[in-house]
Subunit: 131 residues, 2 copies
Amino acid sequence: MPRREPSRSGRFSYDGLDRVVHEKARLGILTSLATYSDGLSFNDLKDLCSLTDGNLSRHLDVLREAGLIEIHKDFHKRRPQTTCILTPEGRERYLSYIDQLTHVVRDAAPERPRTAPQTGELGHPTDLAPA
Amino acid sequence: MPRREPSRSGRFSYDGLDRVVHEKARLGILTSLATYSDGLSFNDLKDLCSLTDGNLSRHLDVLREAGLIEIHKDFHKRRPQTTCILTPEGRERYLSYIDQLTHVVRDAAPERPRTAPQTGELGHPTDLAPA
């Protein structure tokens, strides 16, 4: 059996897709917080991400415990308000995740489907016209 | 309290991120199968996605039950071989997912962080220089 190209092993394992960030609701929360760099109130996050109170709370806890966000409680117009903001580490992990996501999108470019490799010859797919 | 811009509600909910496709290992499997449009053997998939036999089997079952892939069992050089291939529906759902992923990457462009909205004024963030 011919040897495989070692560089092909794990080609689509996407190890850089941080599971804390990848979860769909948390991805929305982090993208909101990356967009609004001064932070967002609990209610604005709930609205932007279409989440229930319970769901948002649960995901914010995960993100805070992982060190990706900080949660501040203060008052706005005499009413208690919870504000969430990305930590520097959170921004870094988020951007590194997005970098990996860019690779996925690039890999998925439908312009270049390939023929099936012969087993053991994954290193040499042949480009074809679109299926 | 002023009315919110309705268009901002759910802005980051990413409803199009199909959960069947979004799971990290399955995203790797589907990207492999989208890349090799004639299908891939079980062993090649295992290698490309760095998955164990058990993990790969489990995810292939989920994808087959959802109608995204077909699994064929035949012989290759007198040895039994399992081949997986994307169905037309699978390709469509995968590409629609990737389309949504492109929106996430675009939303995440770090060049344009915004100031925090005043609560109730999410429709009018102000663009700032990068933080």
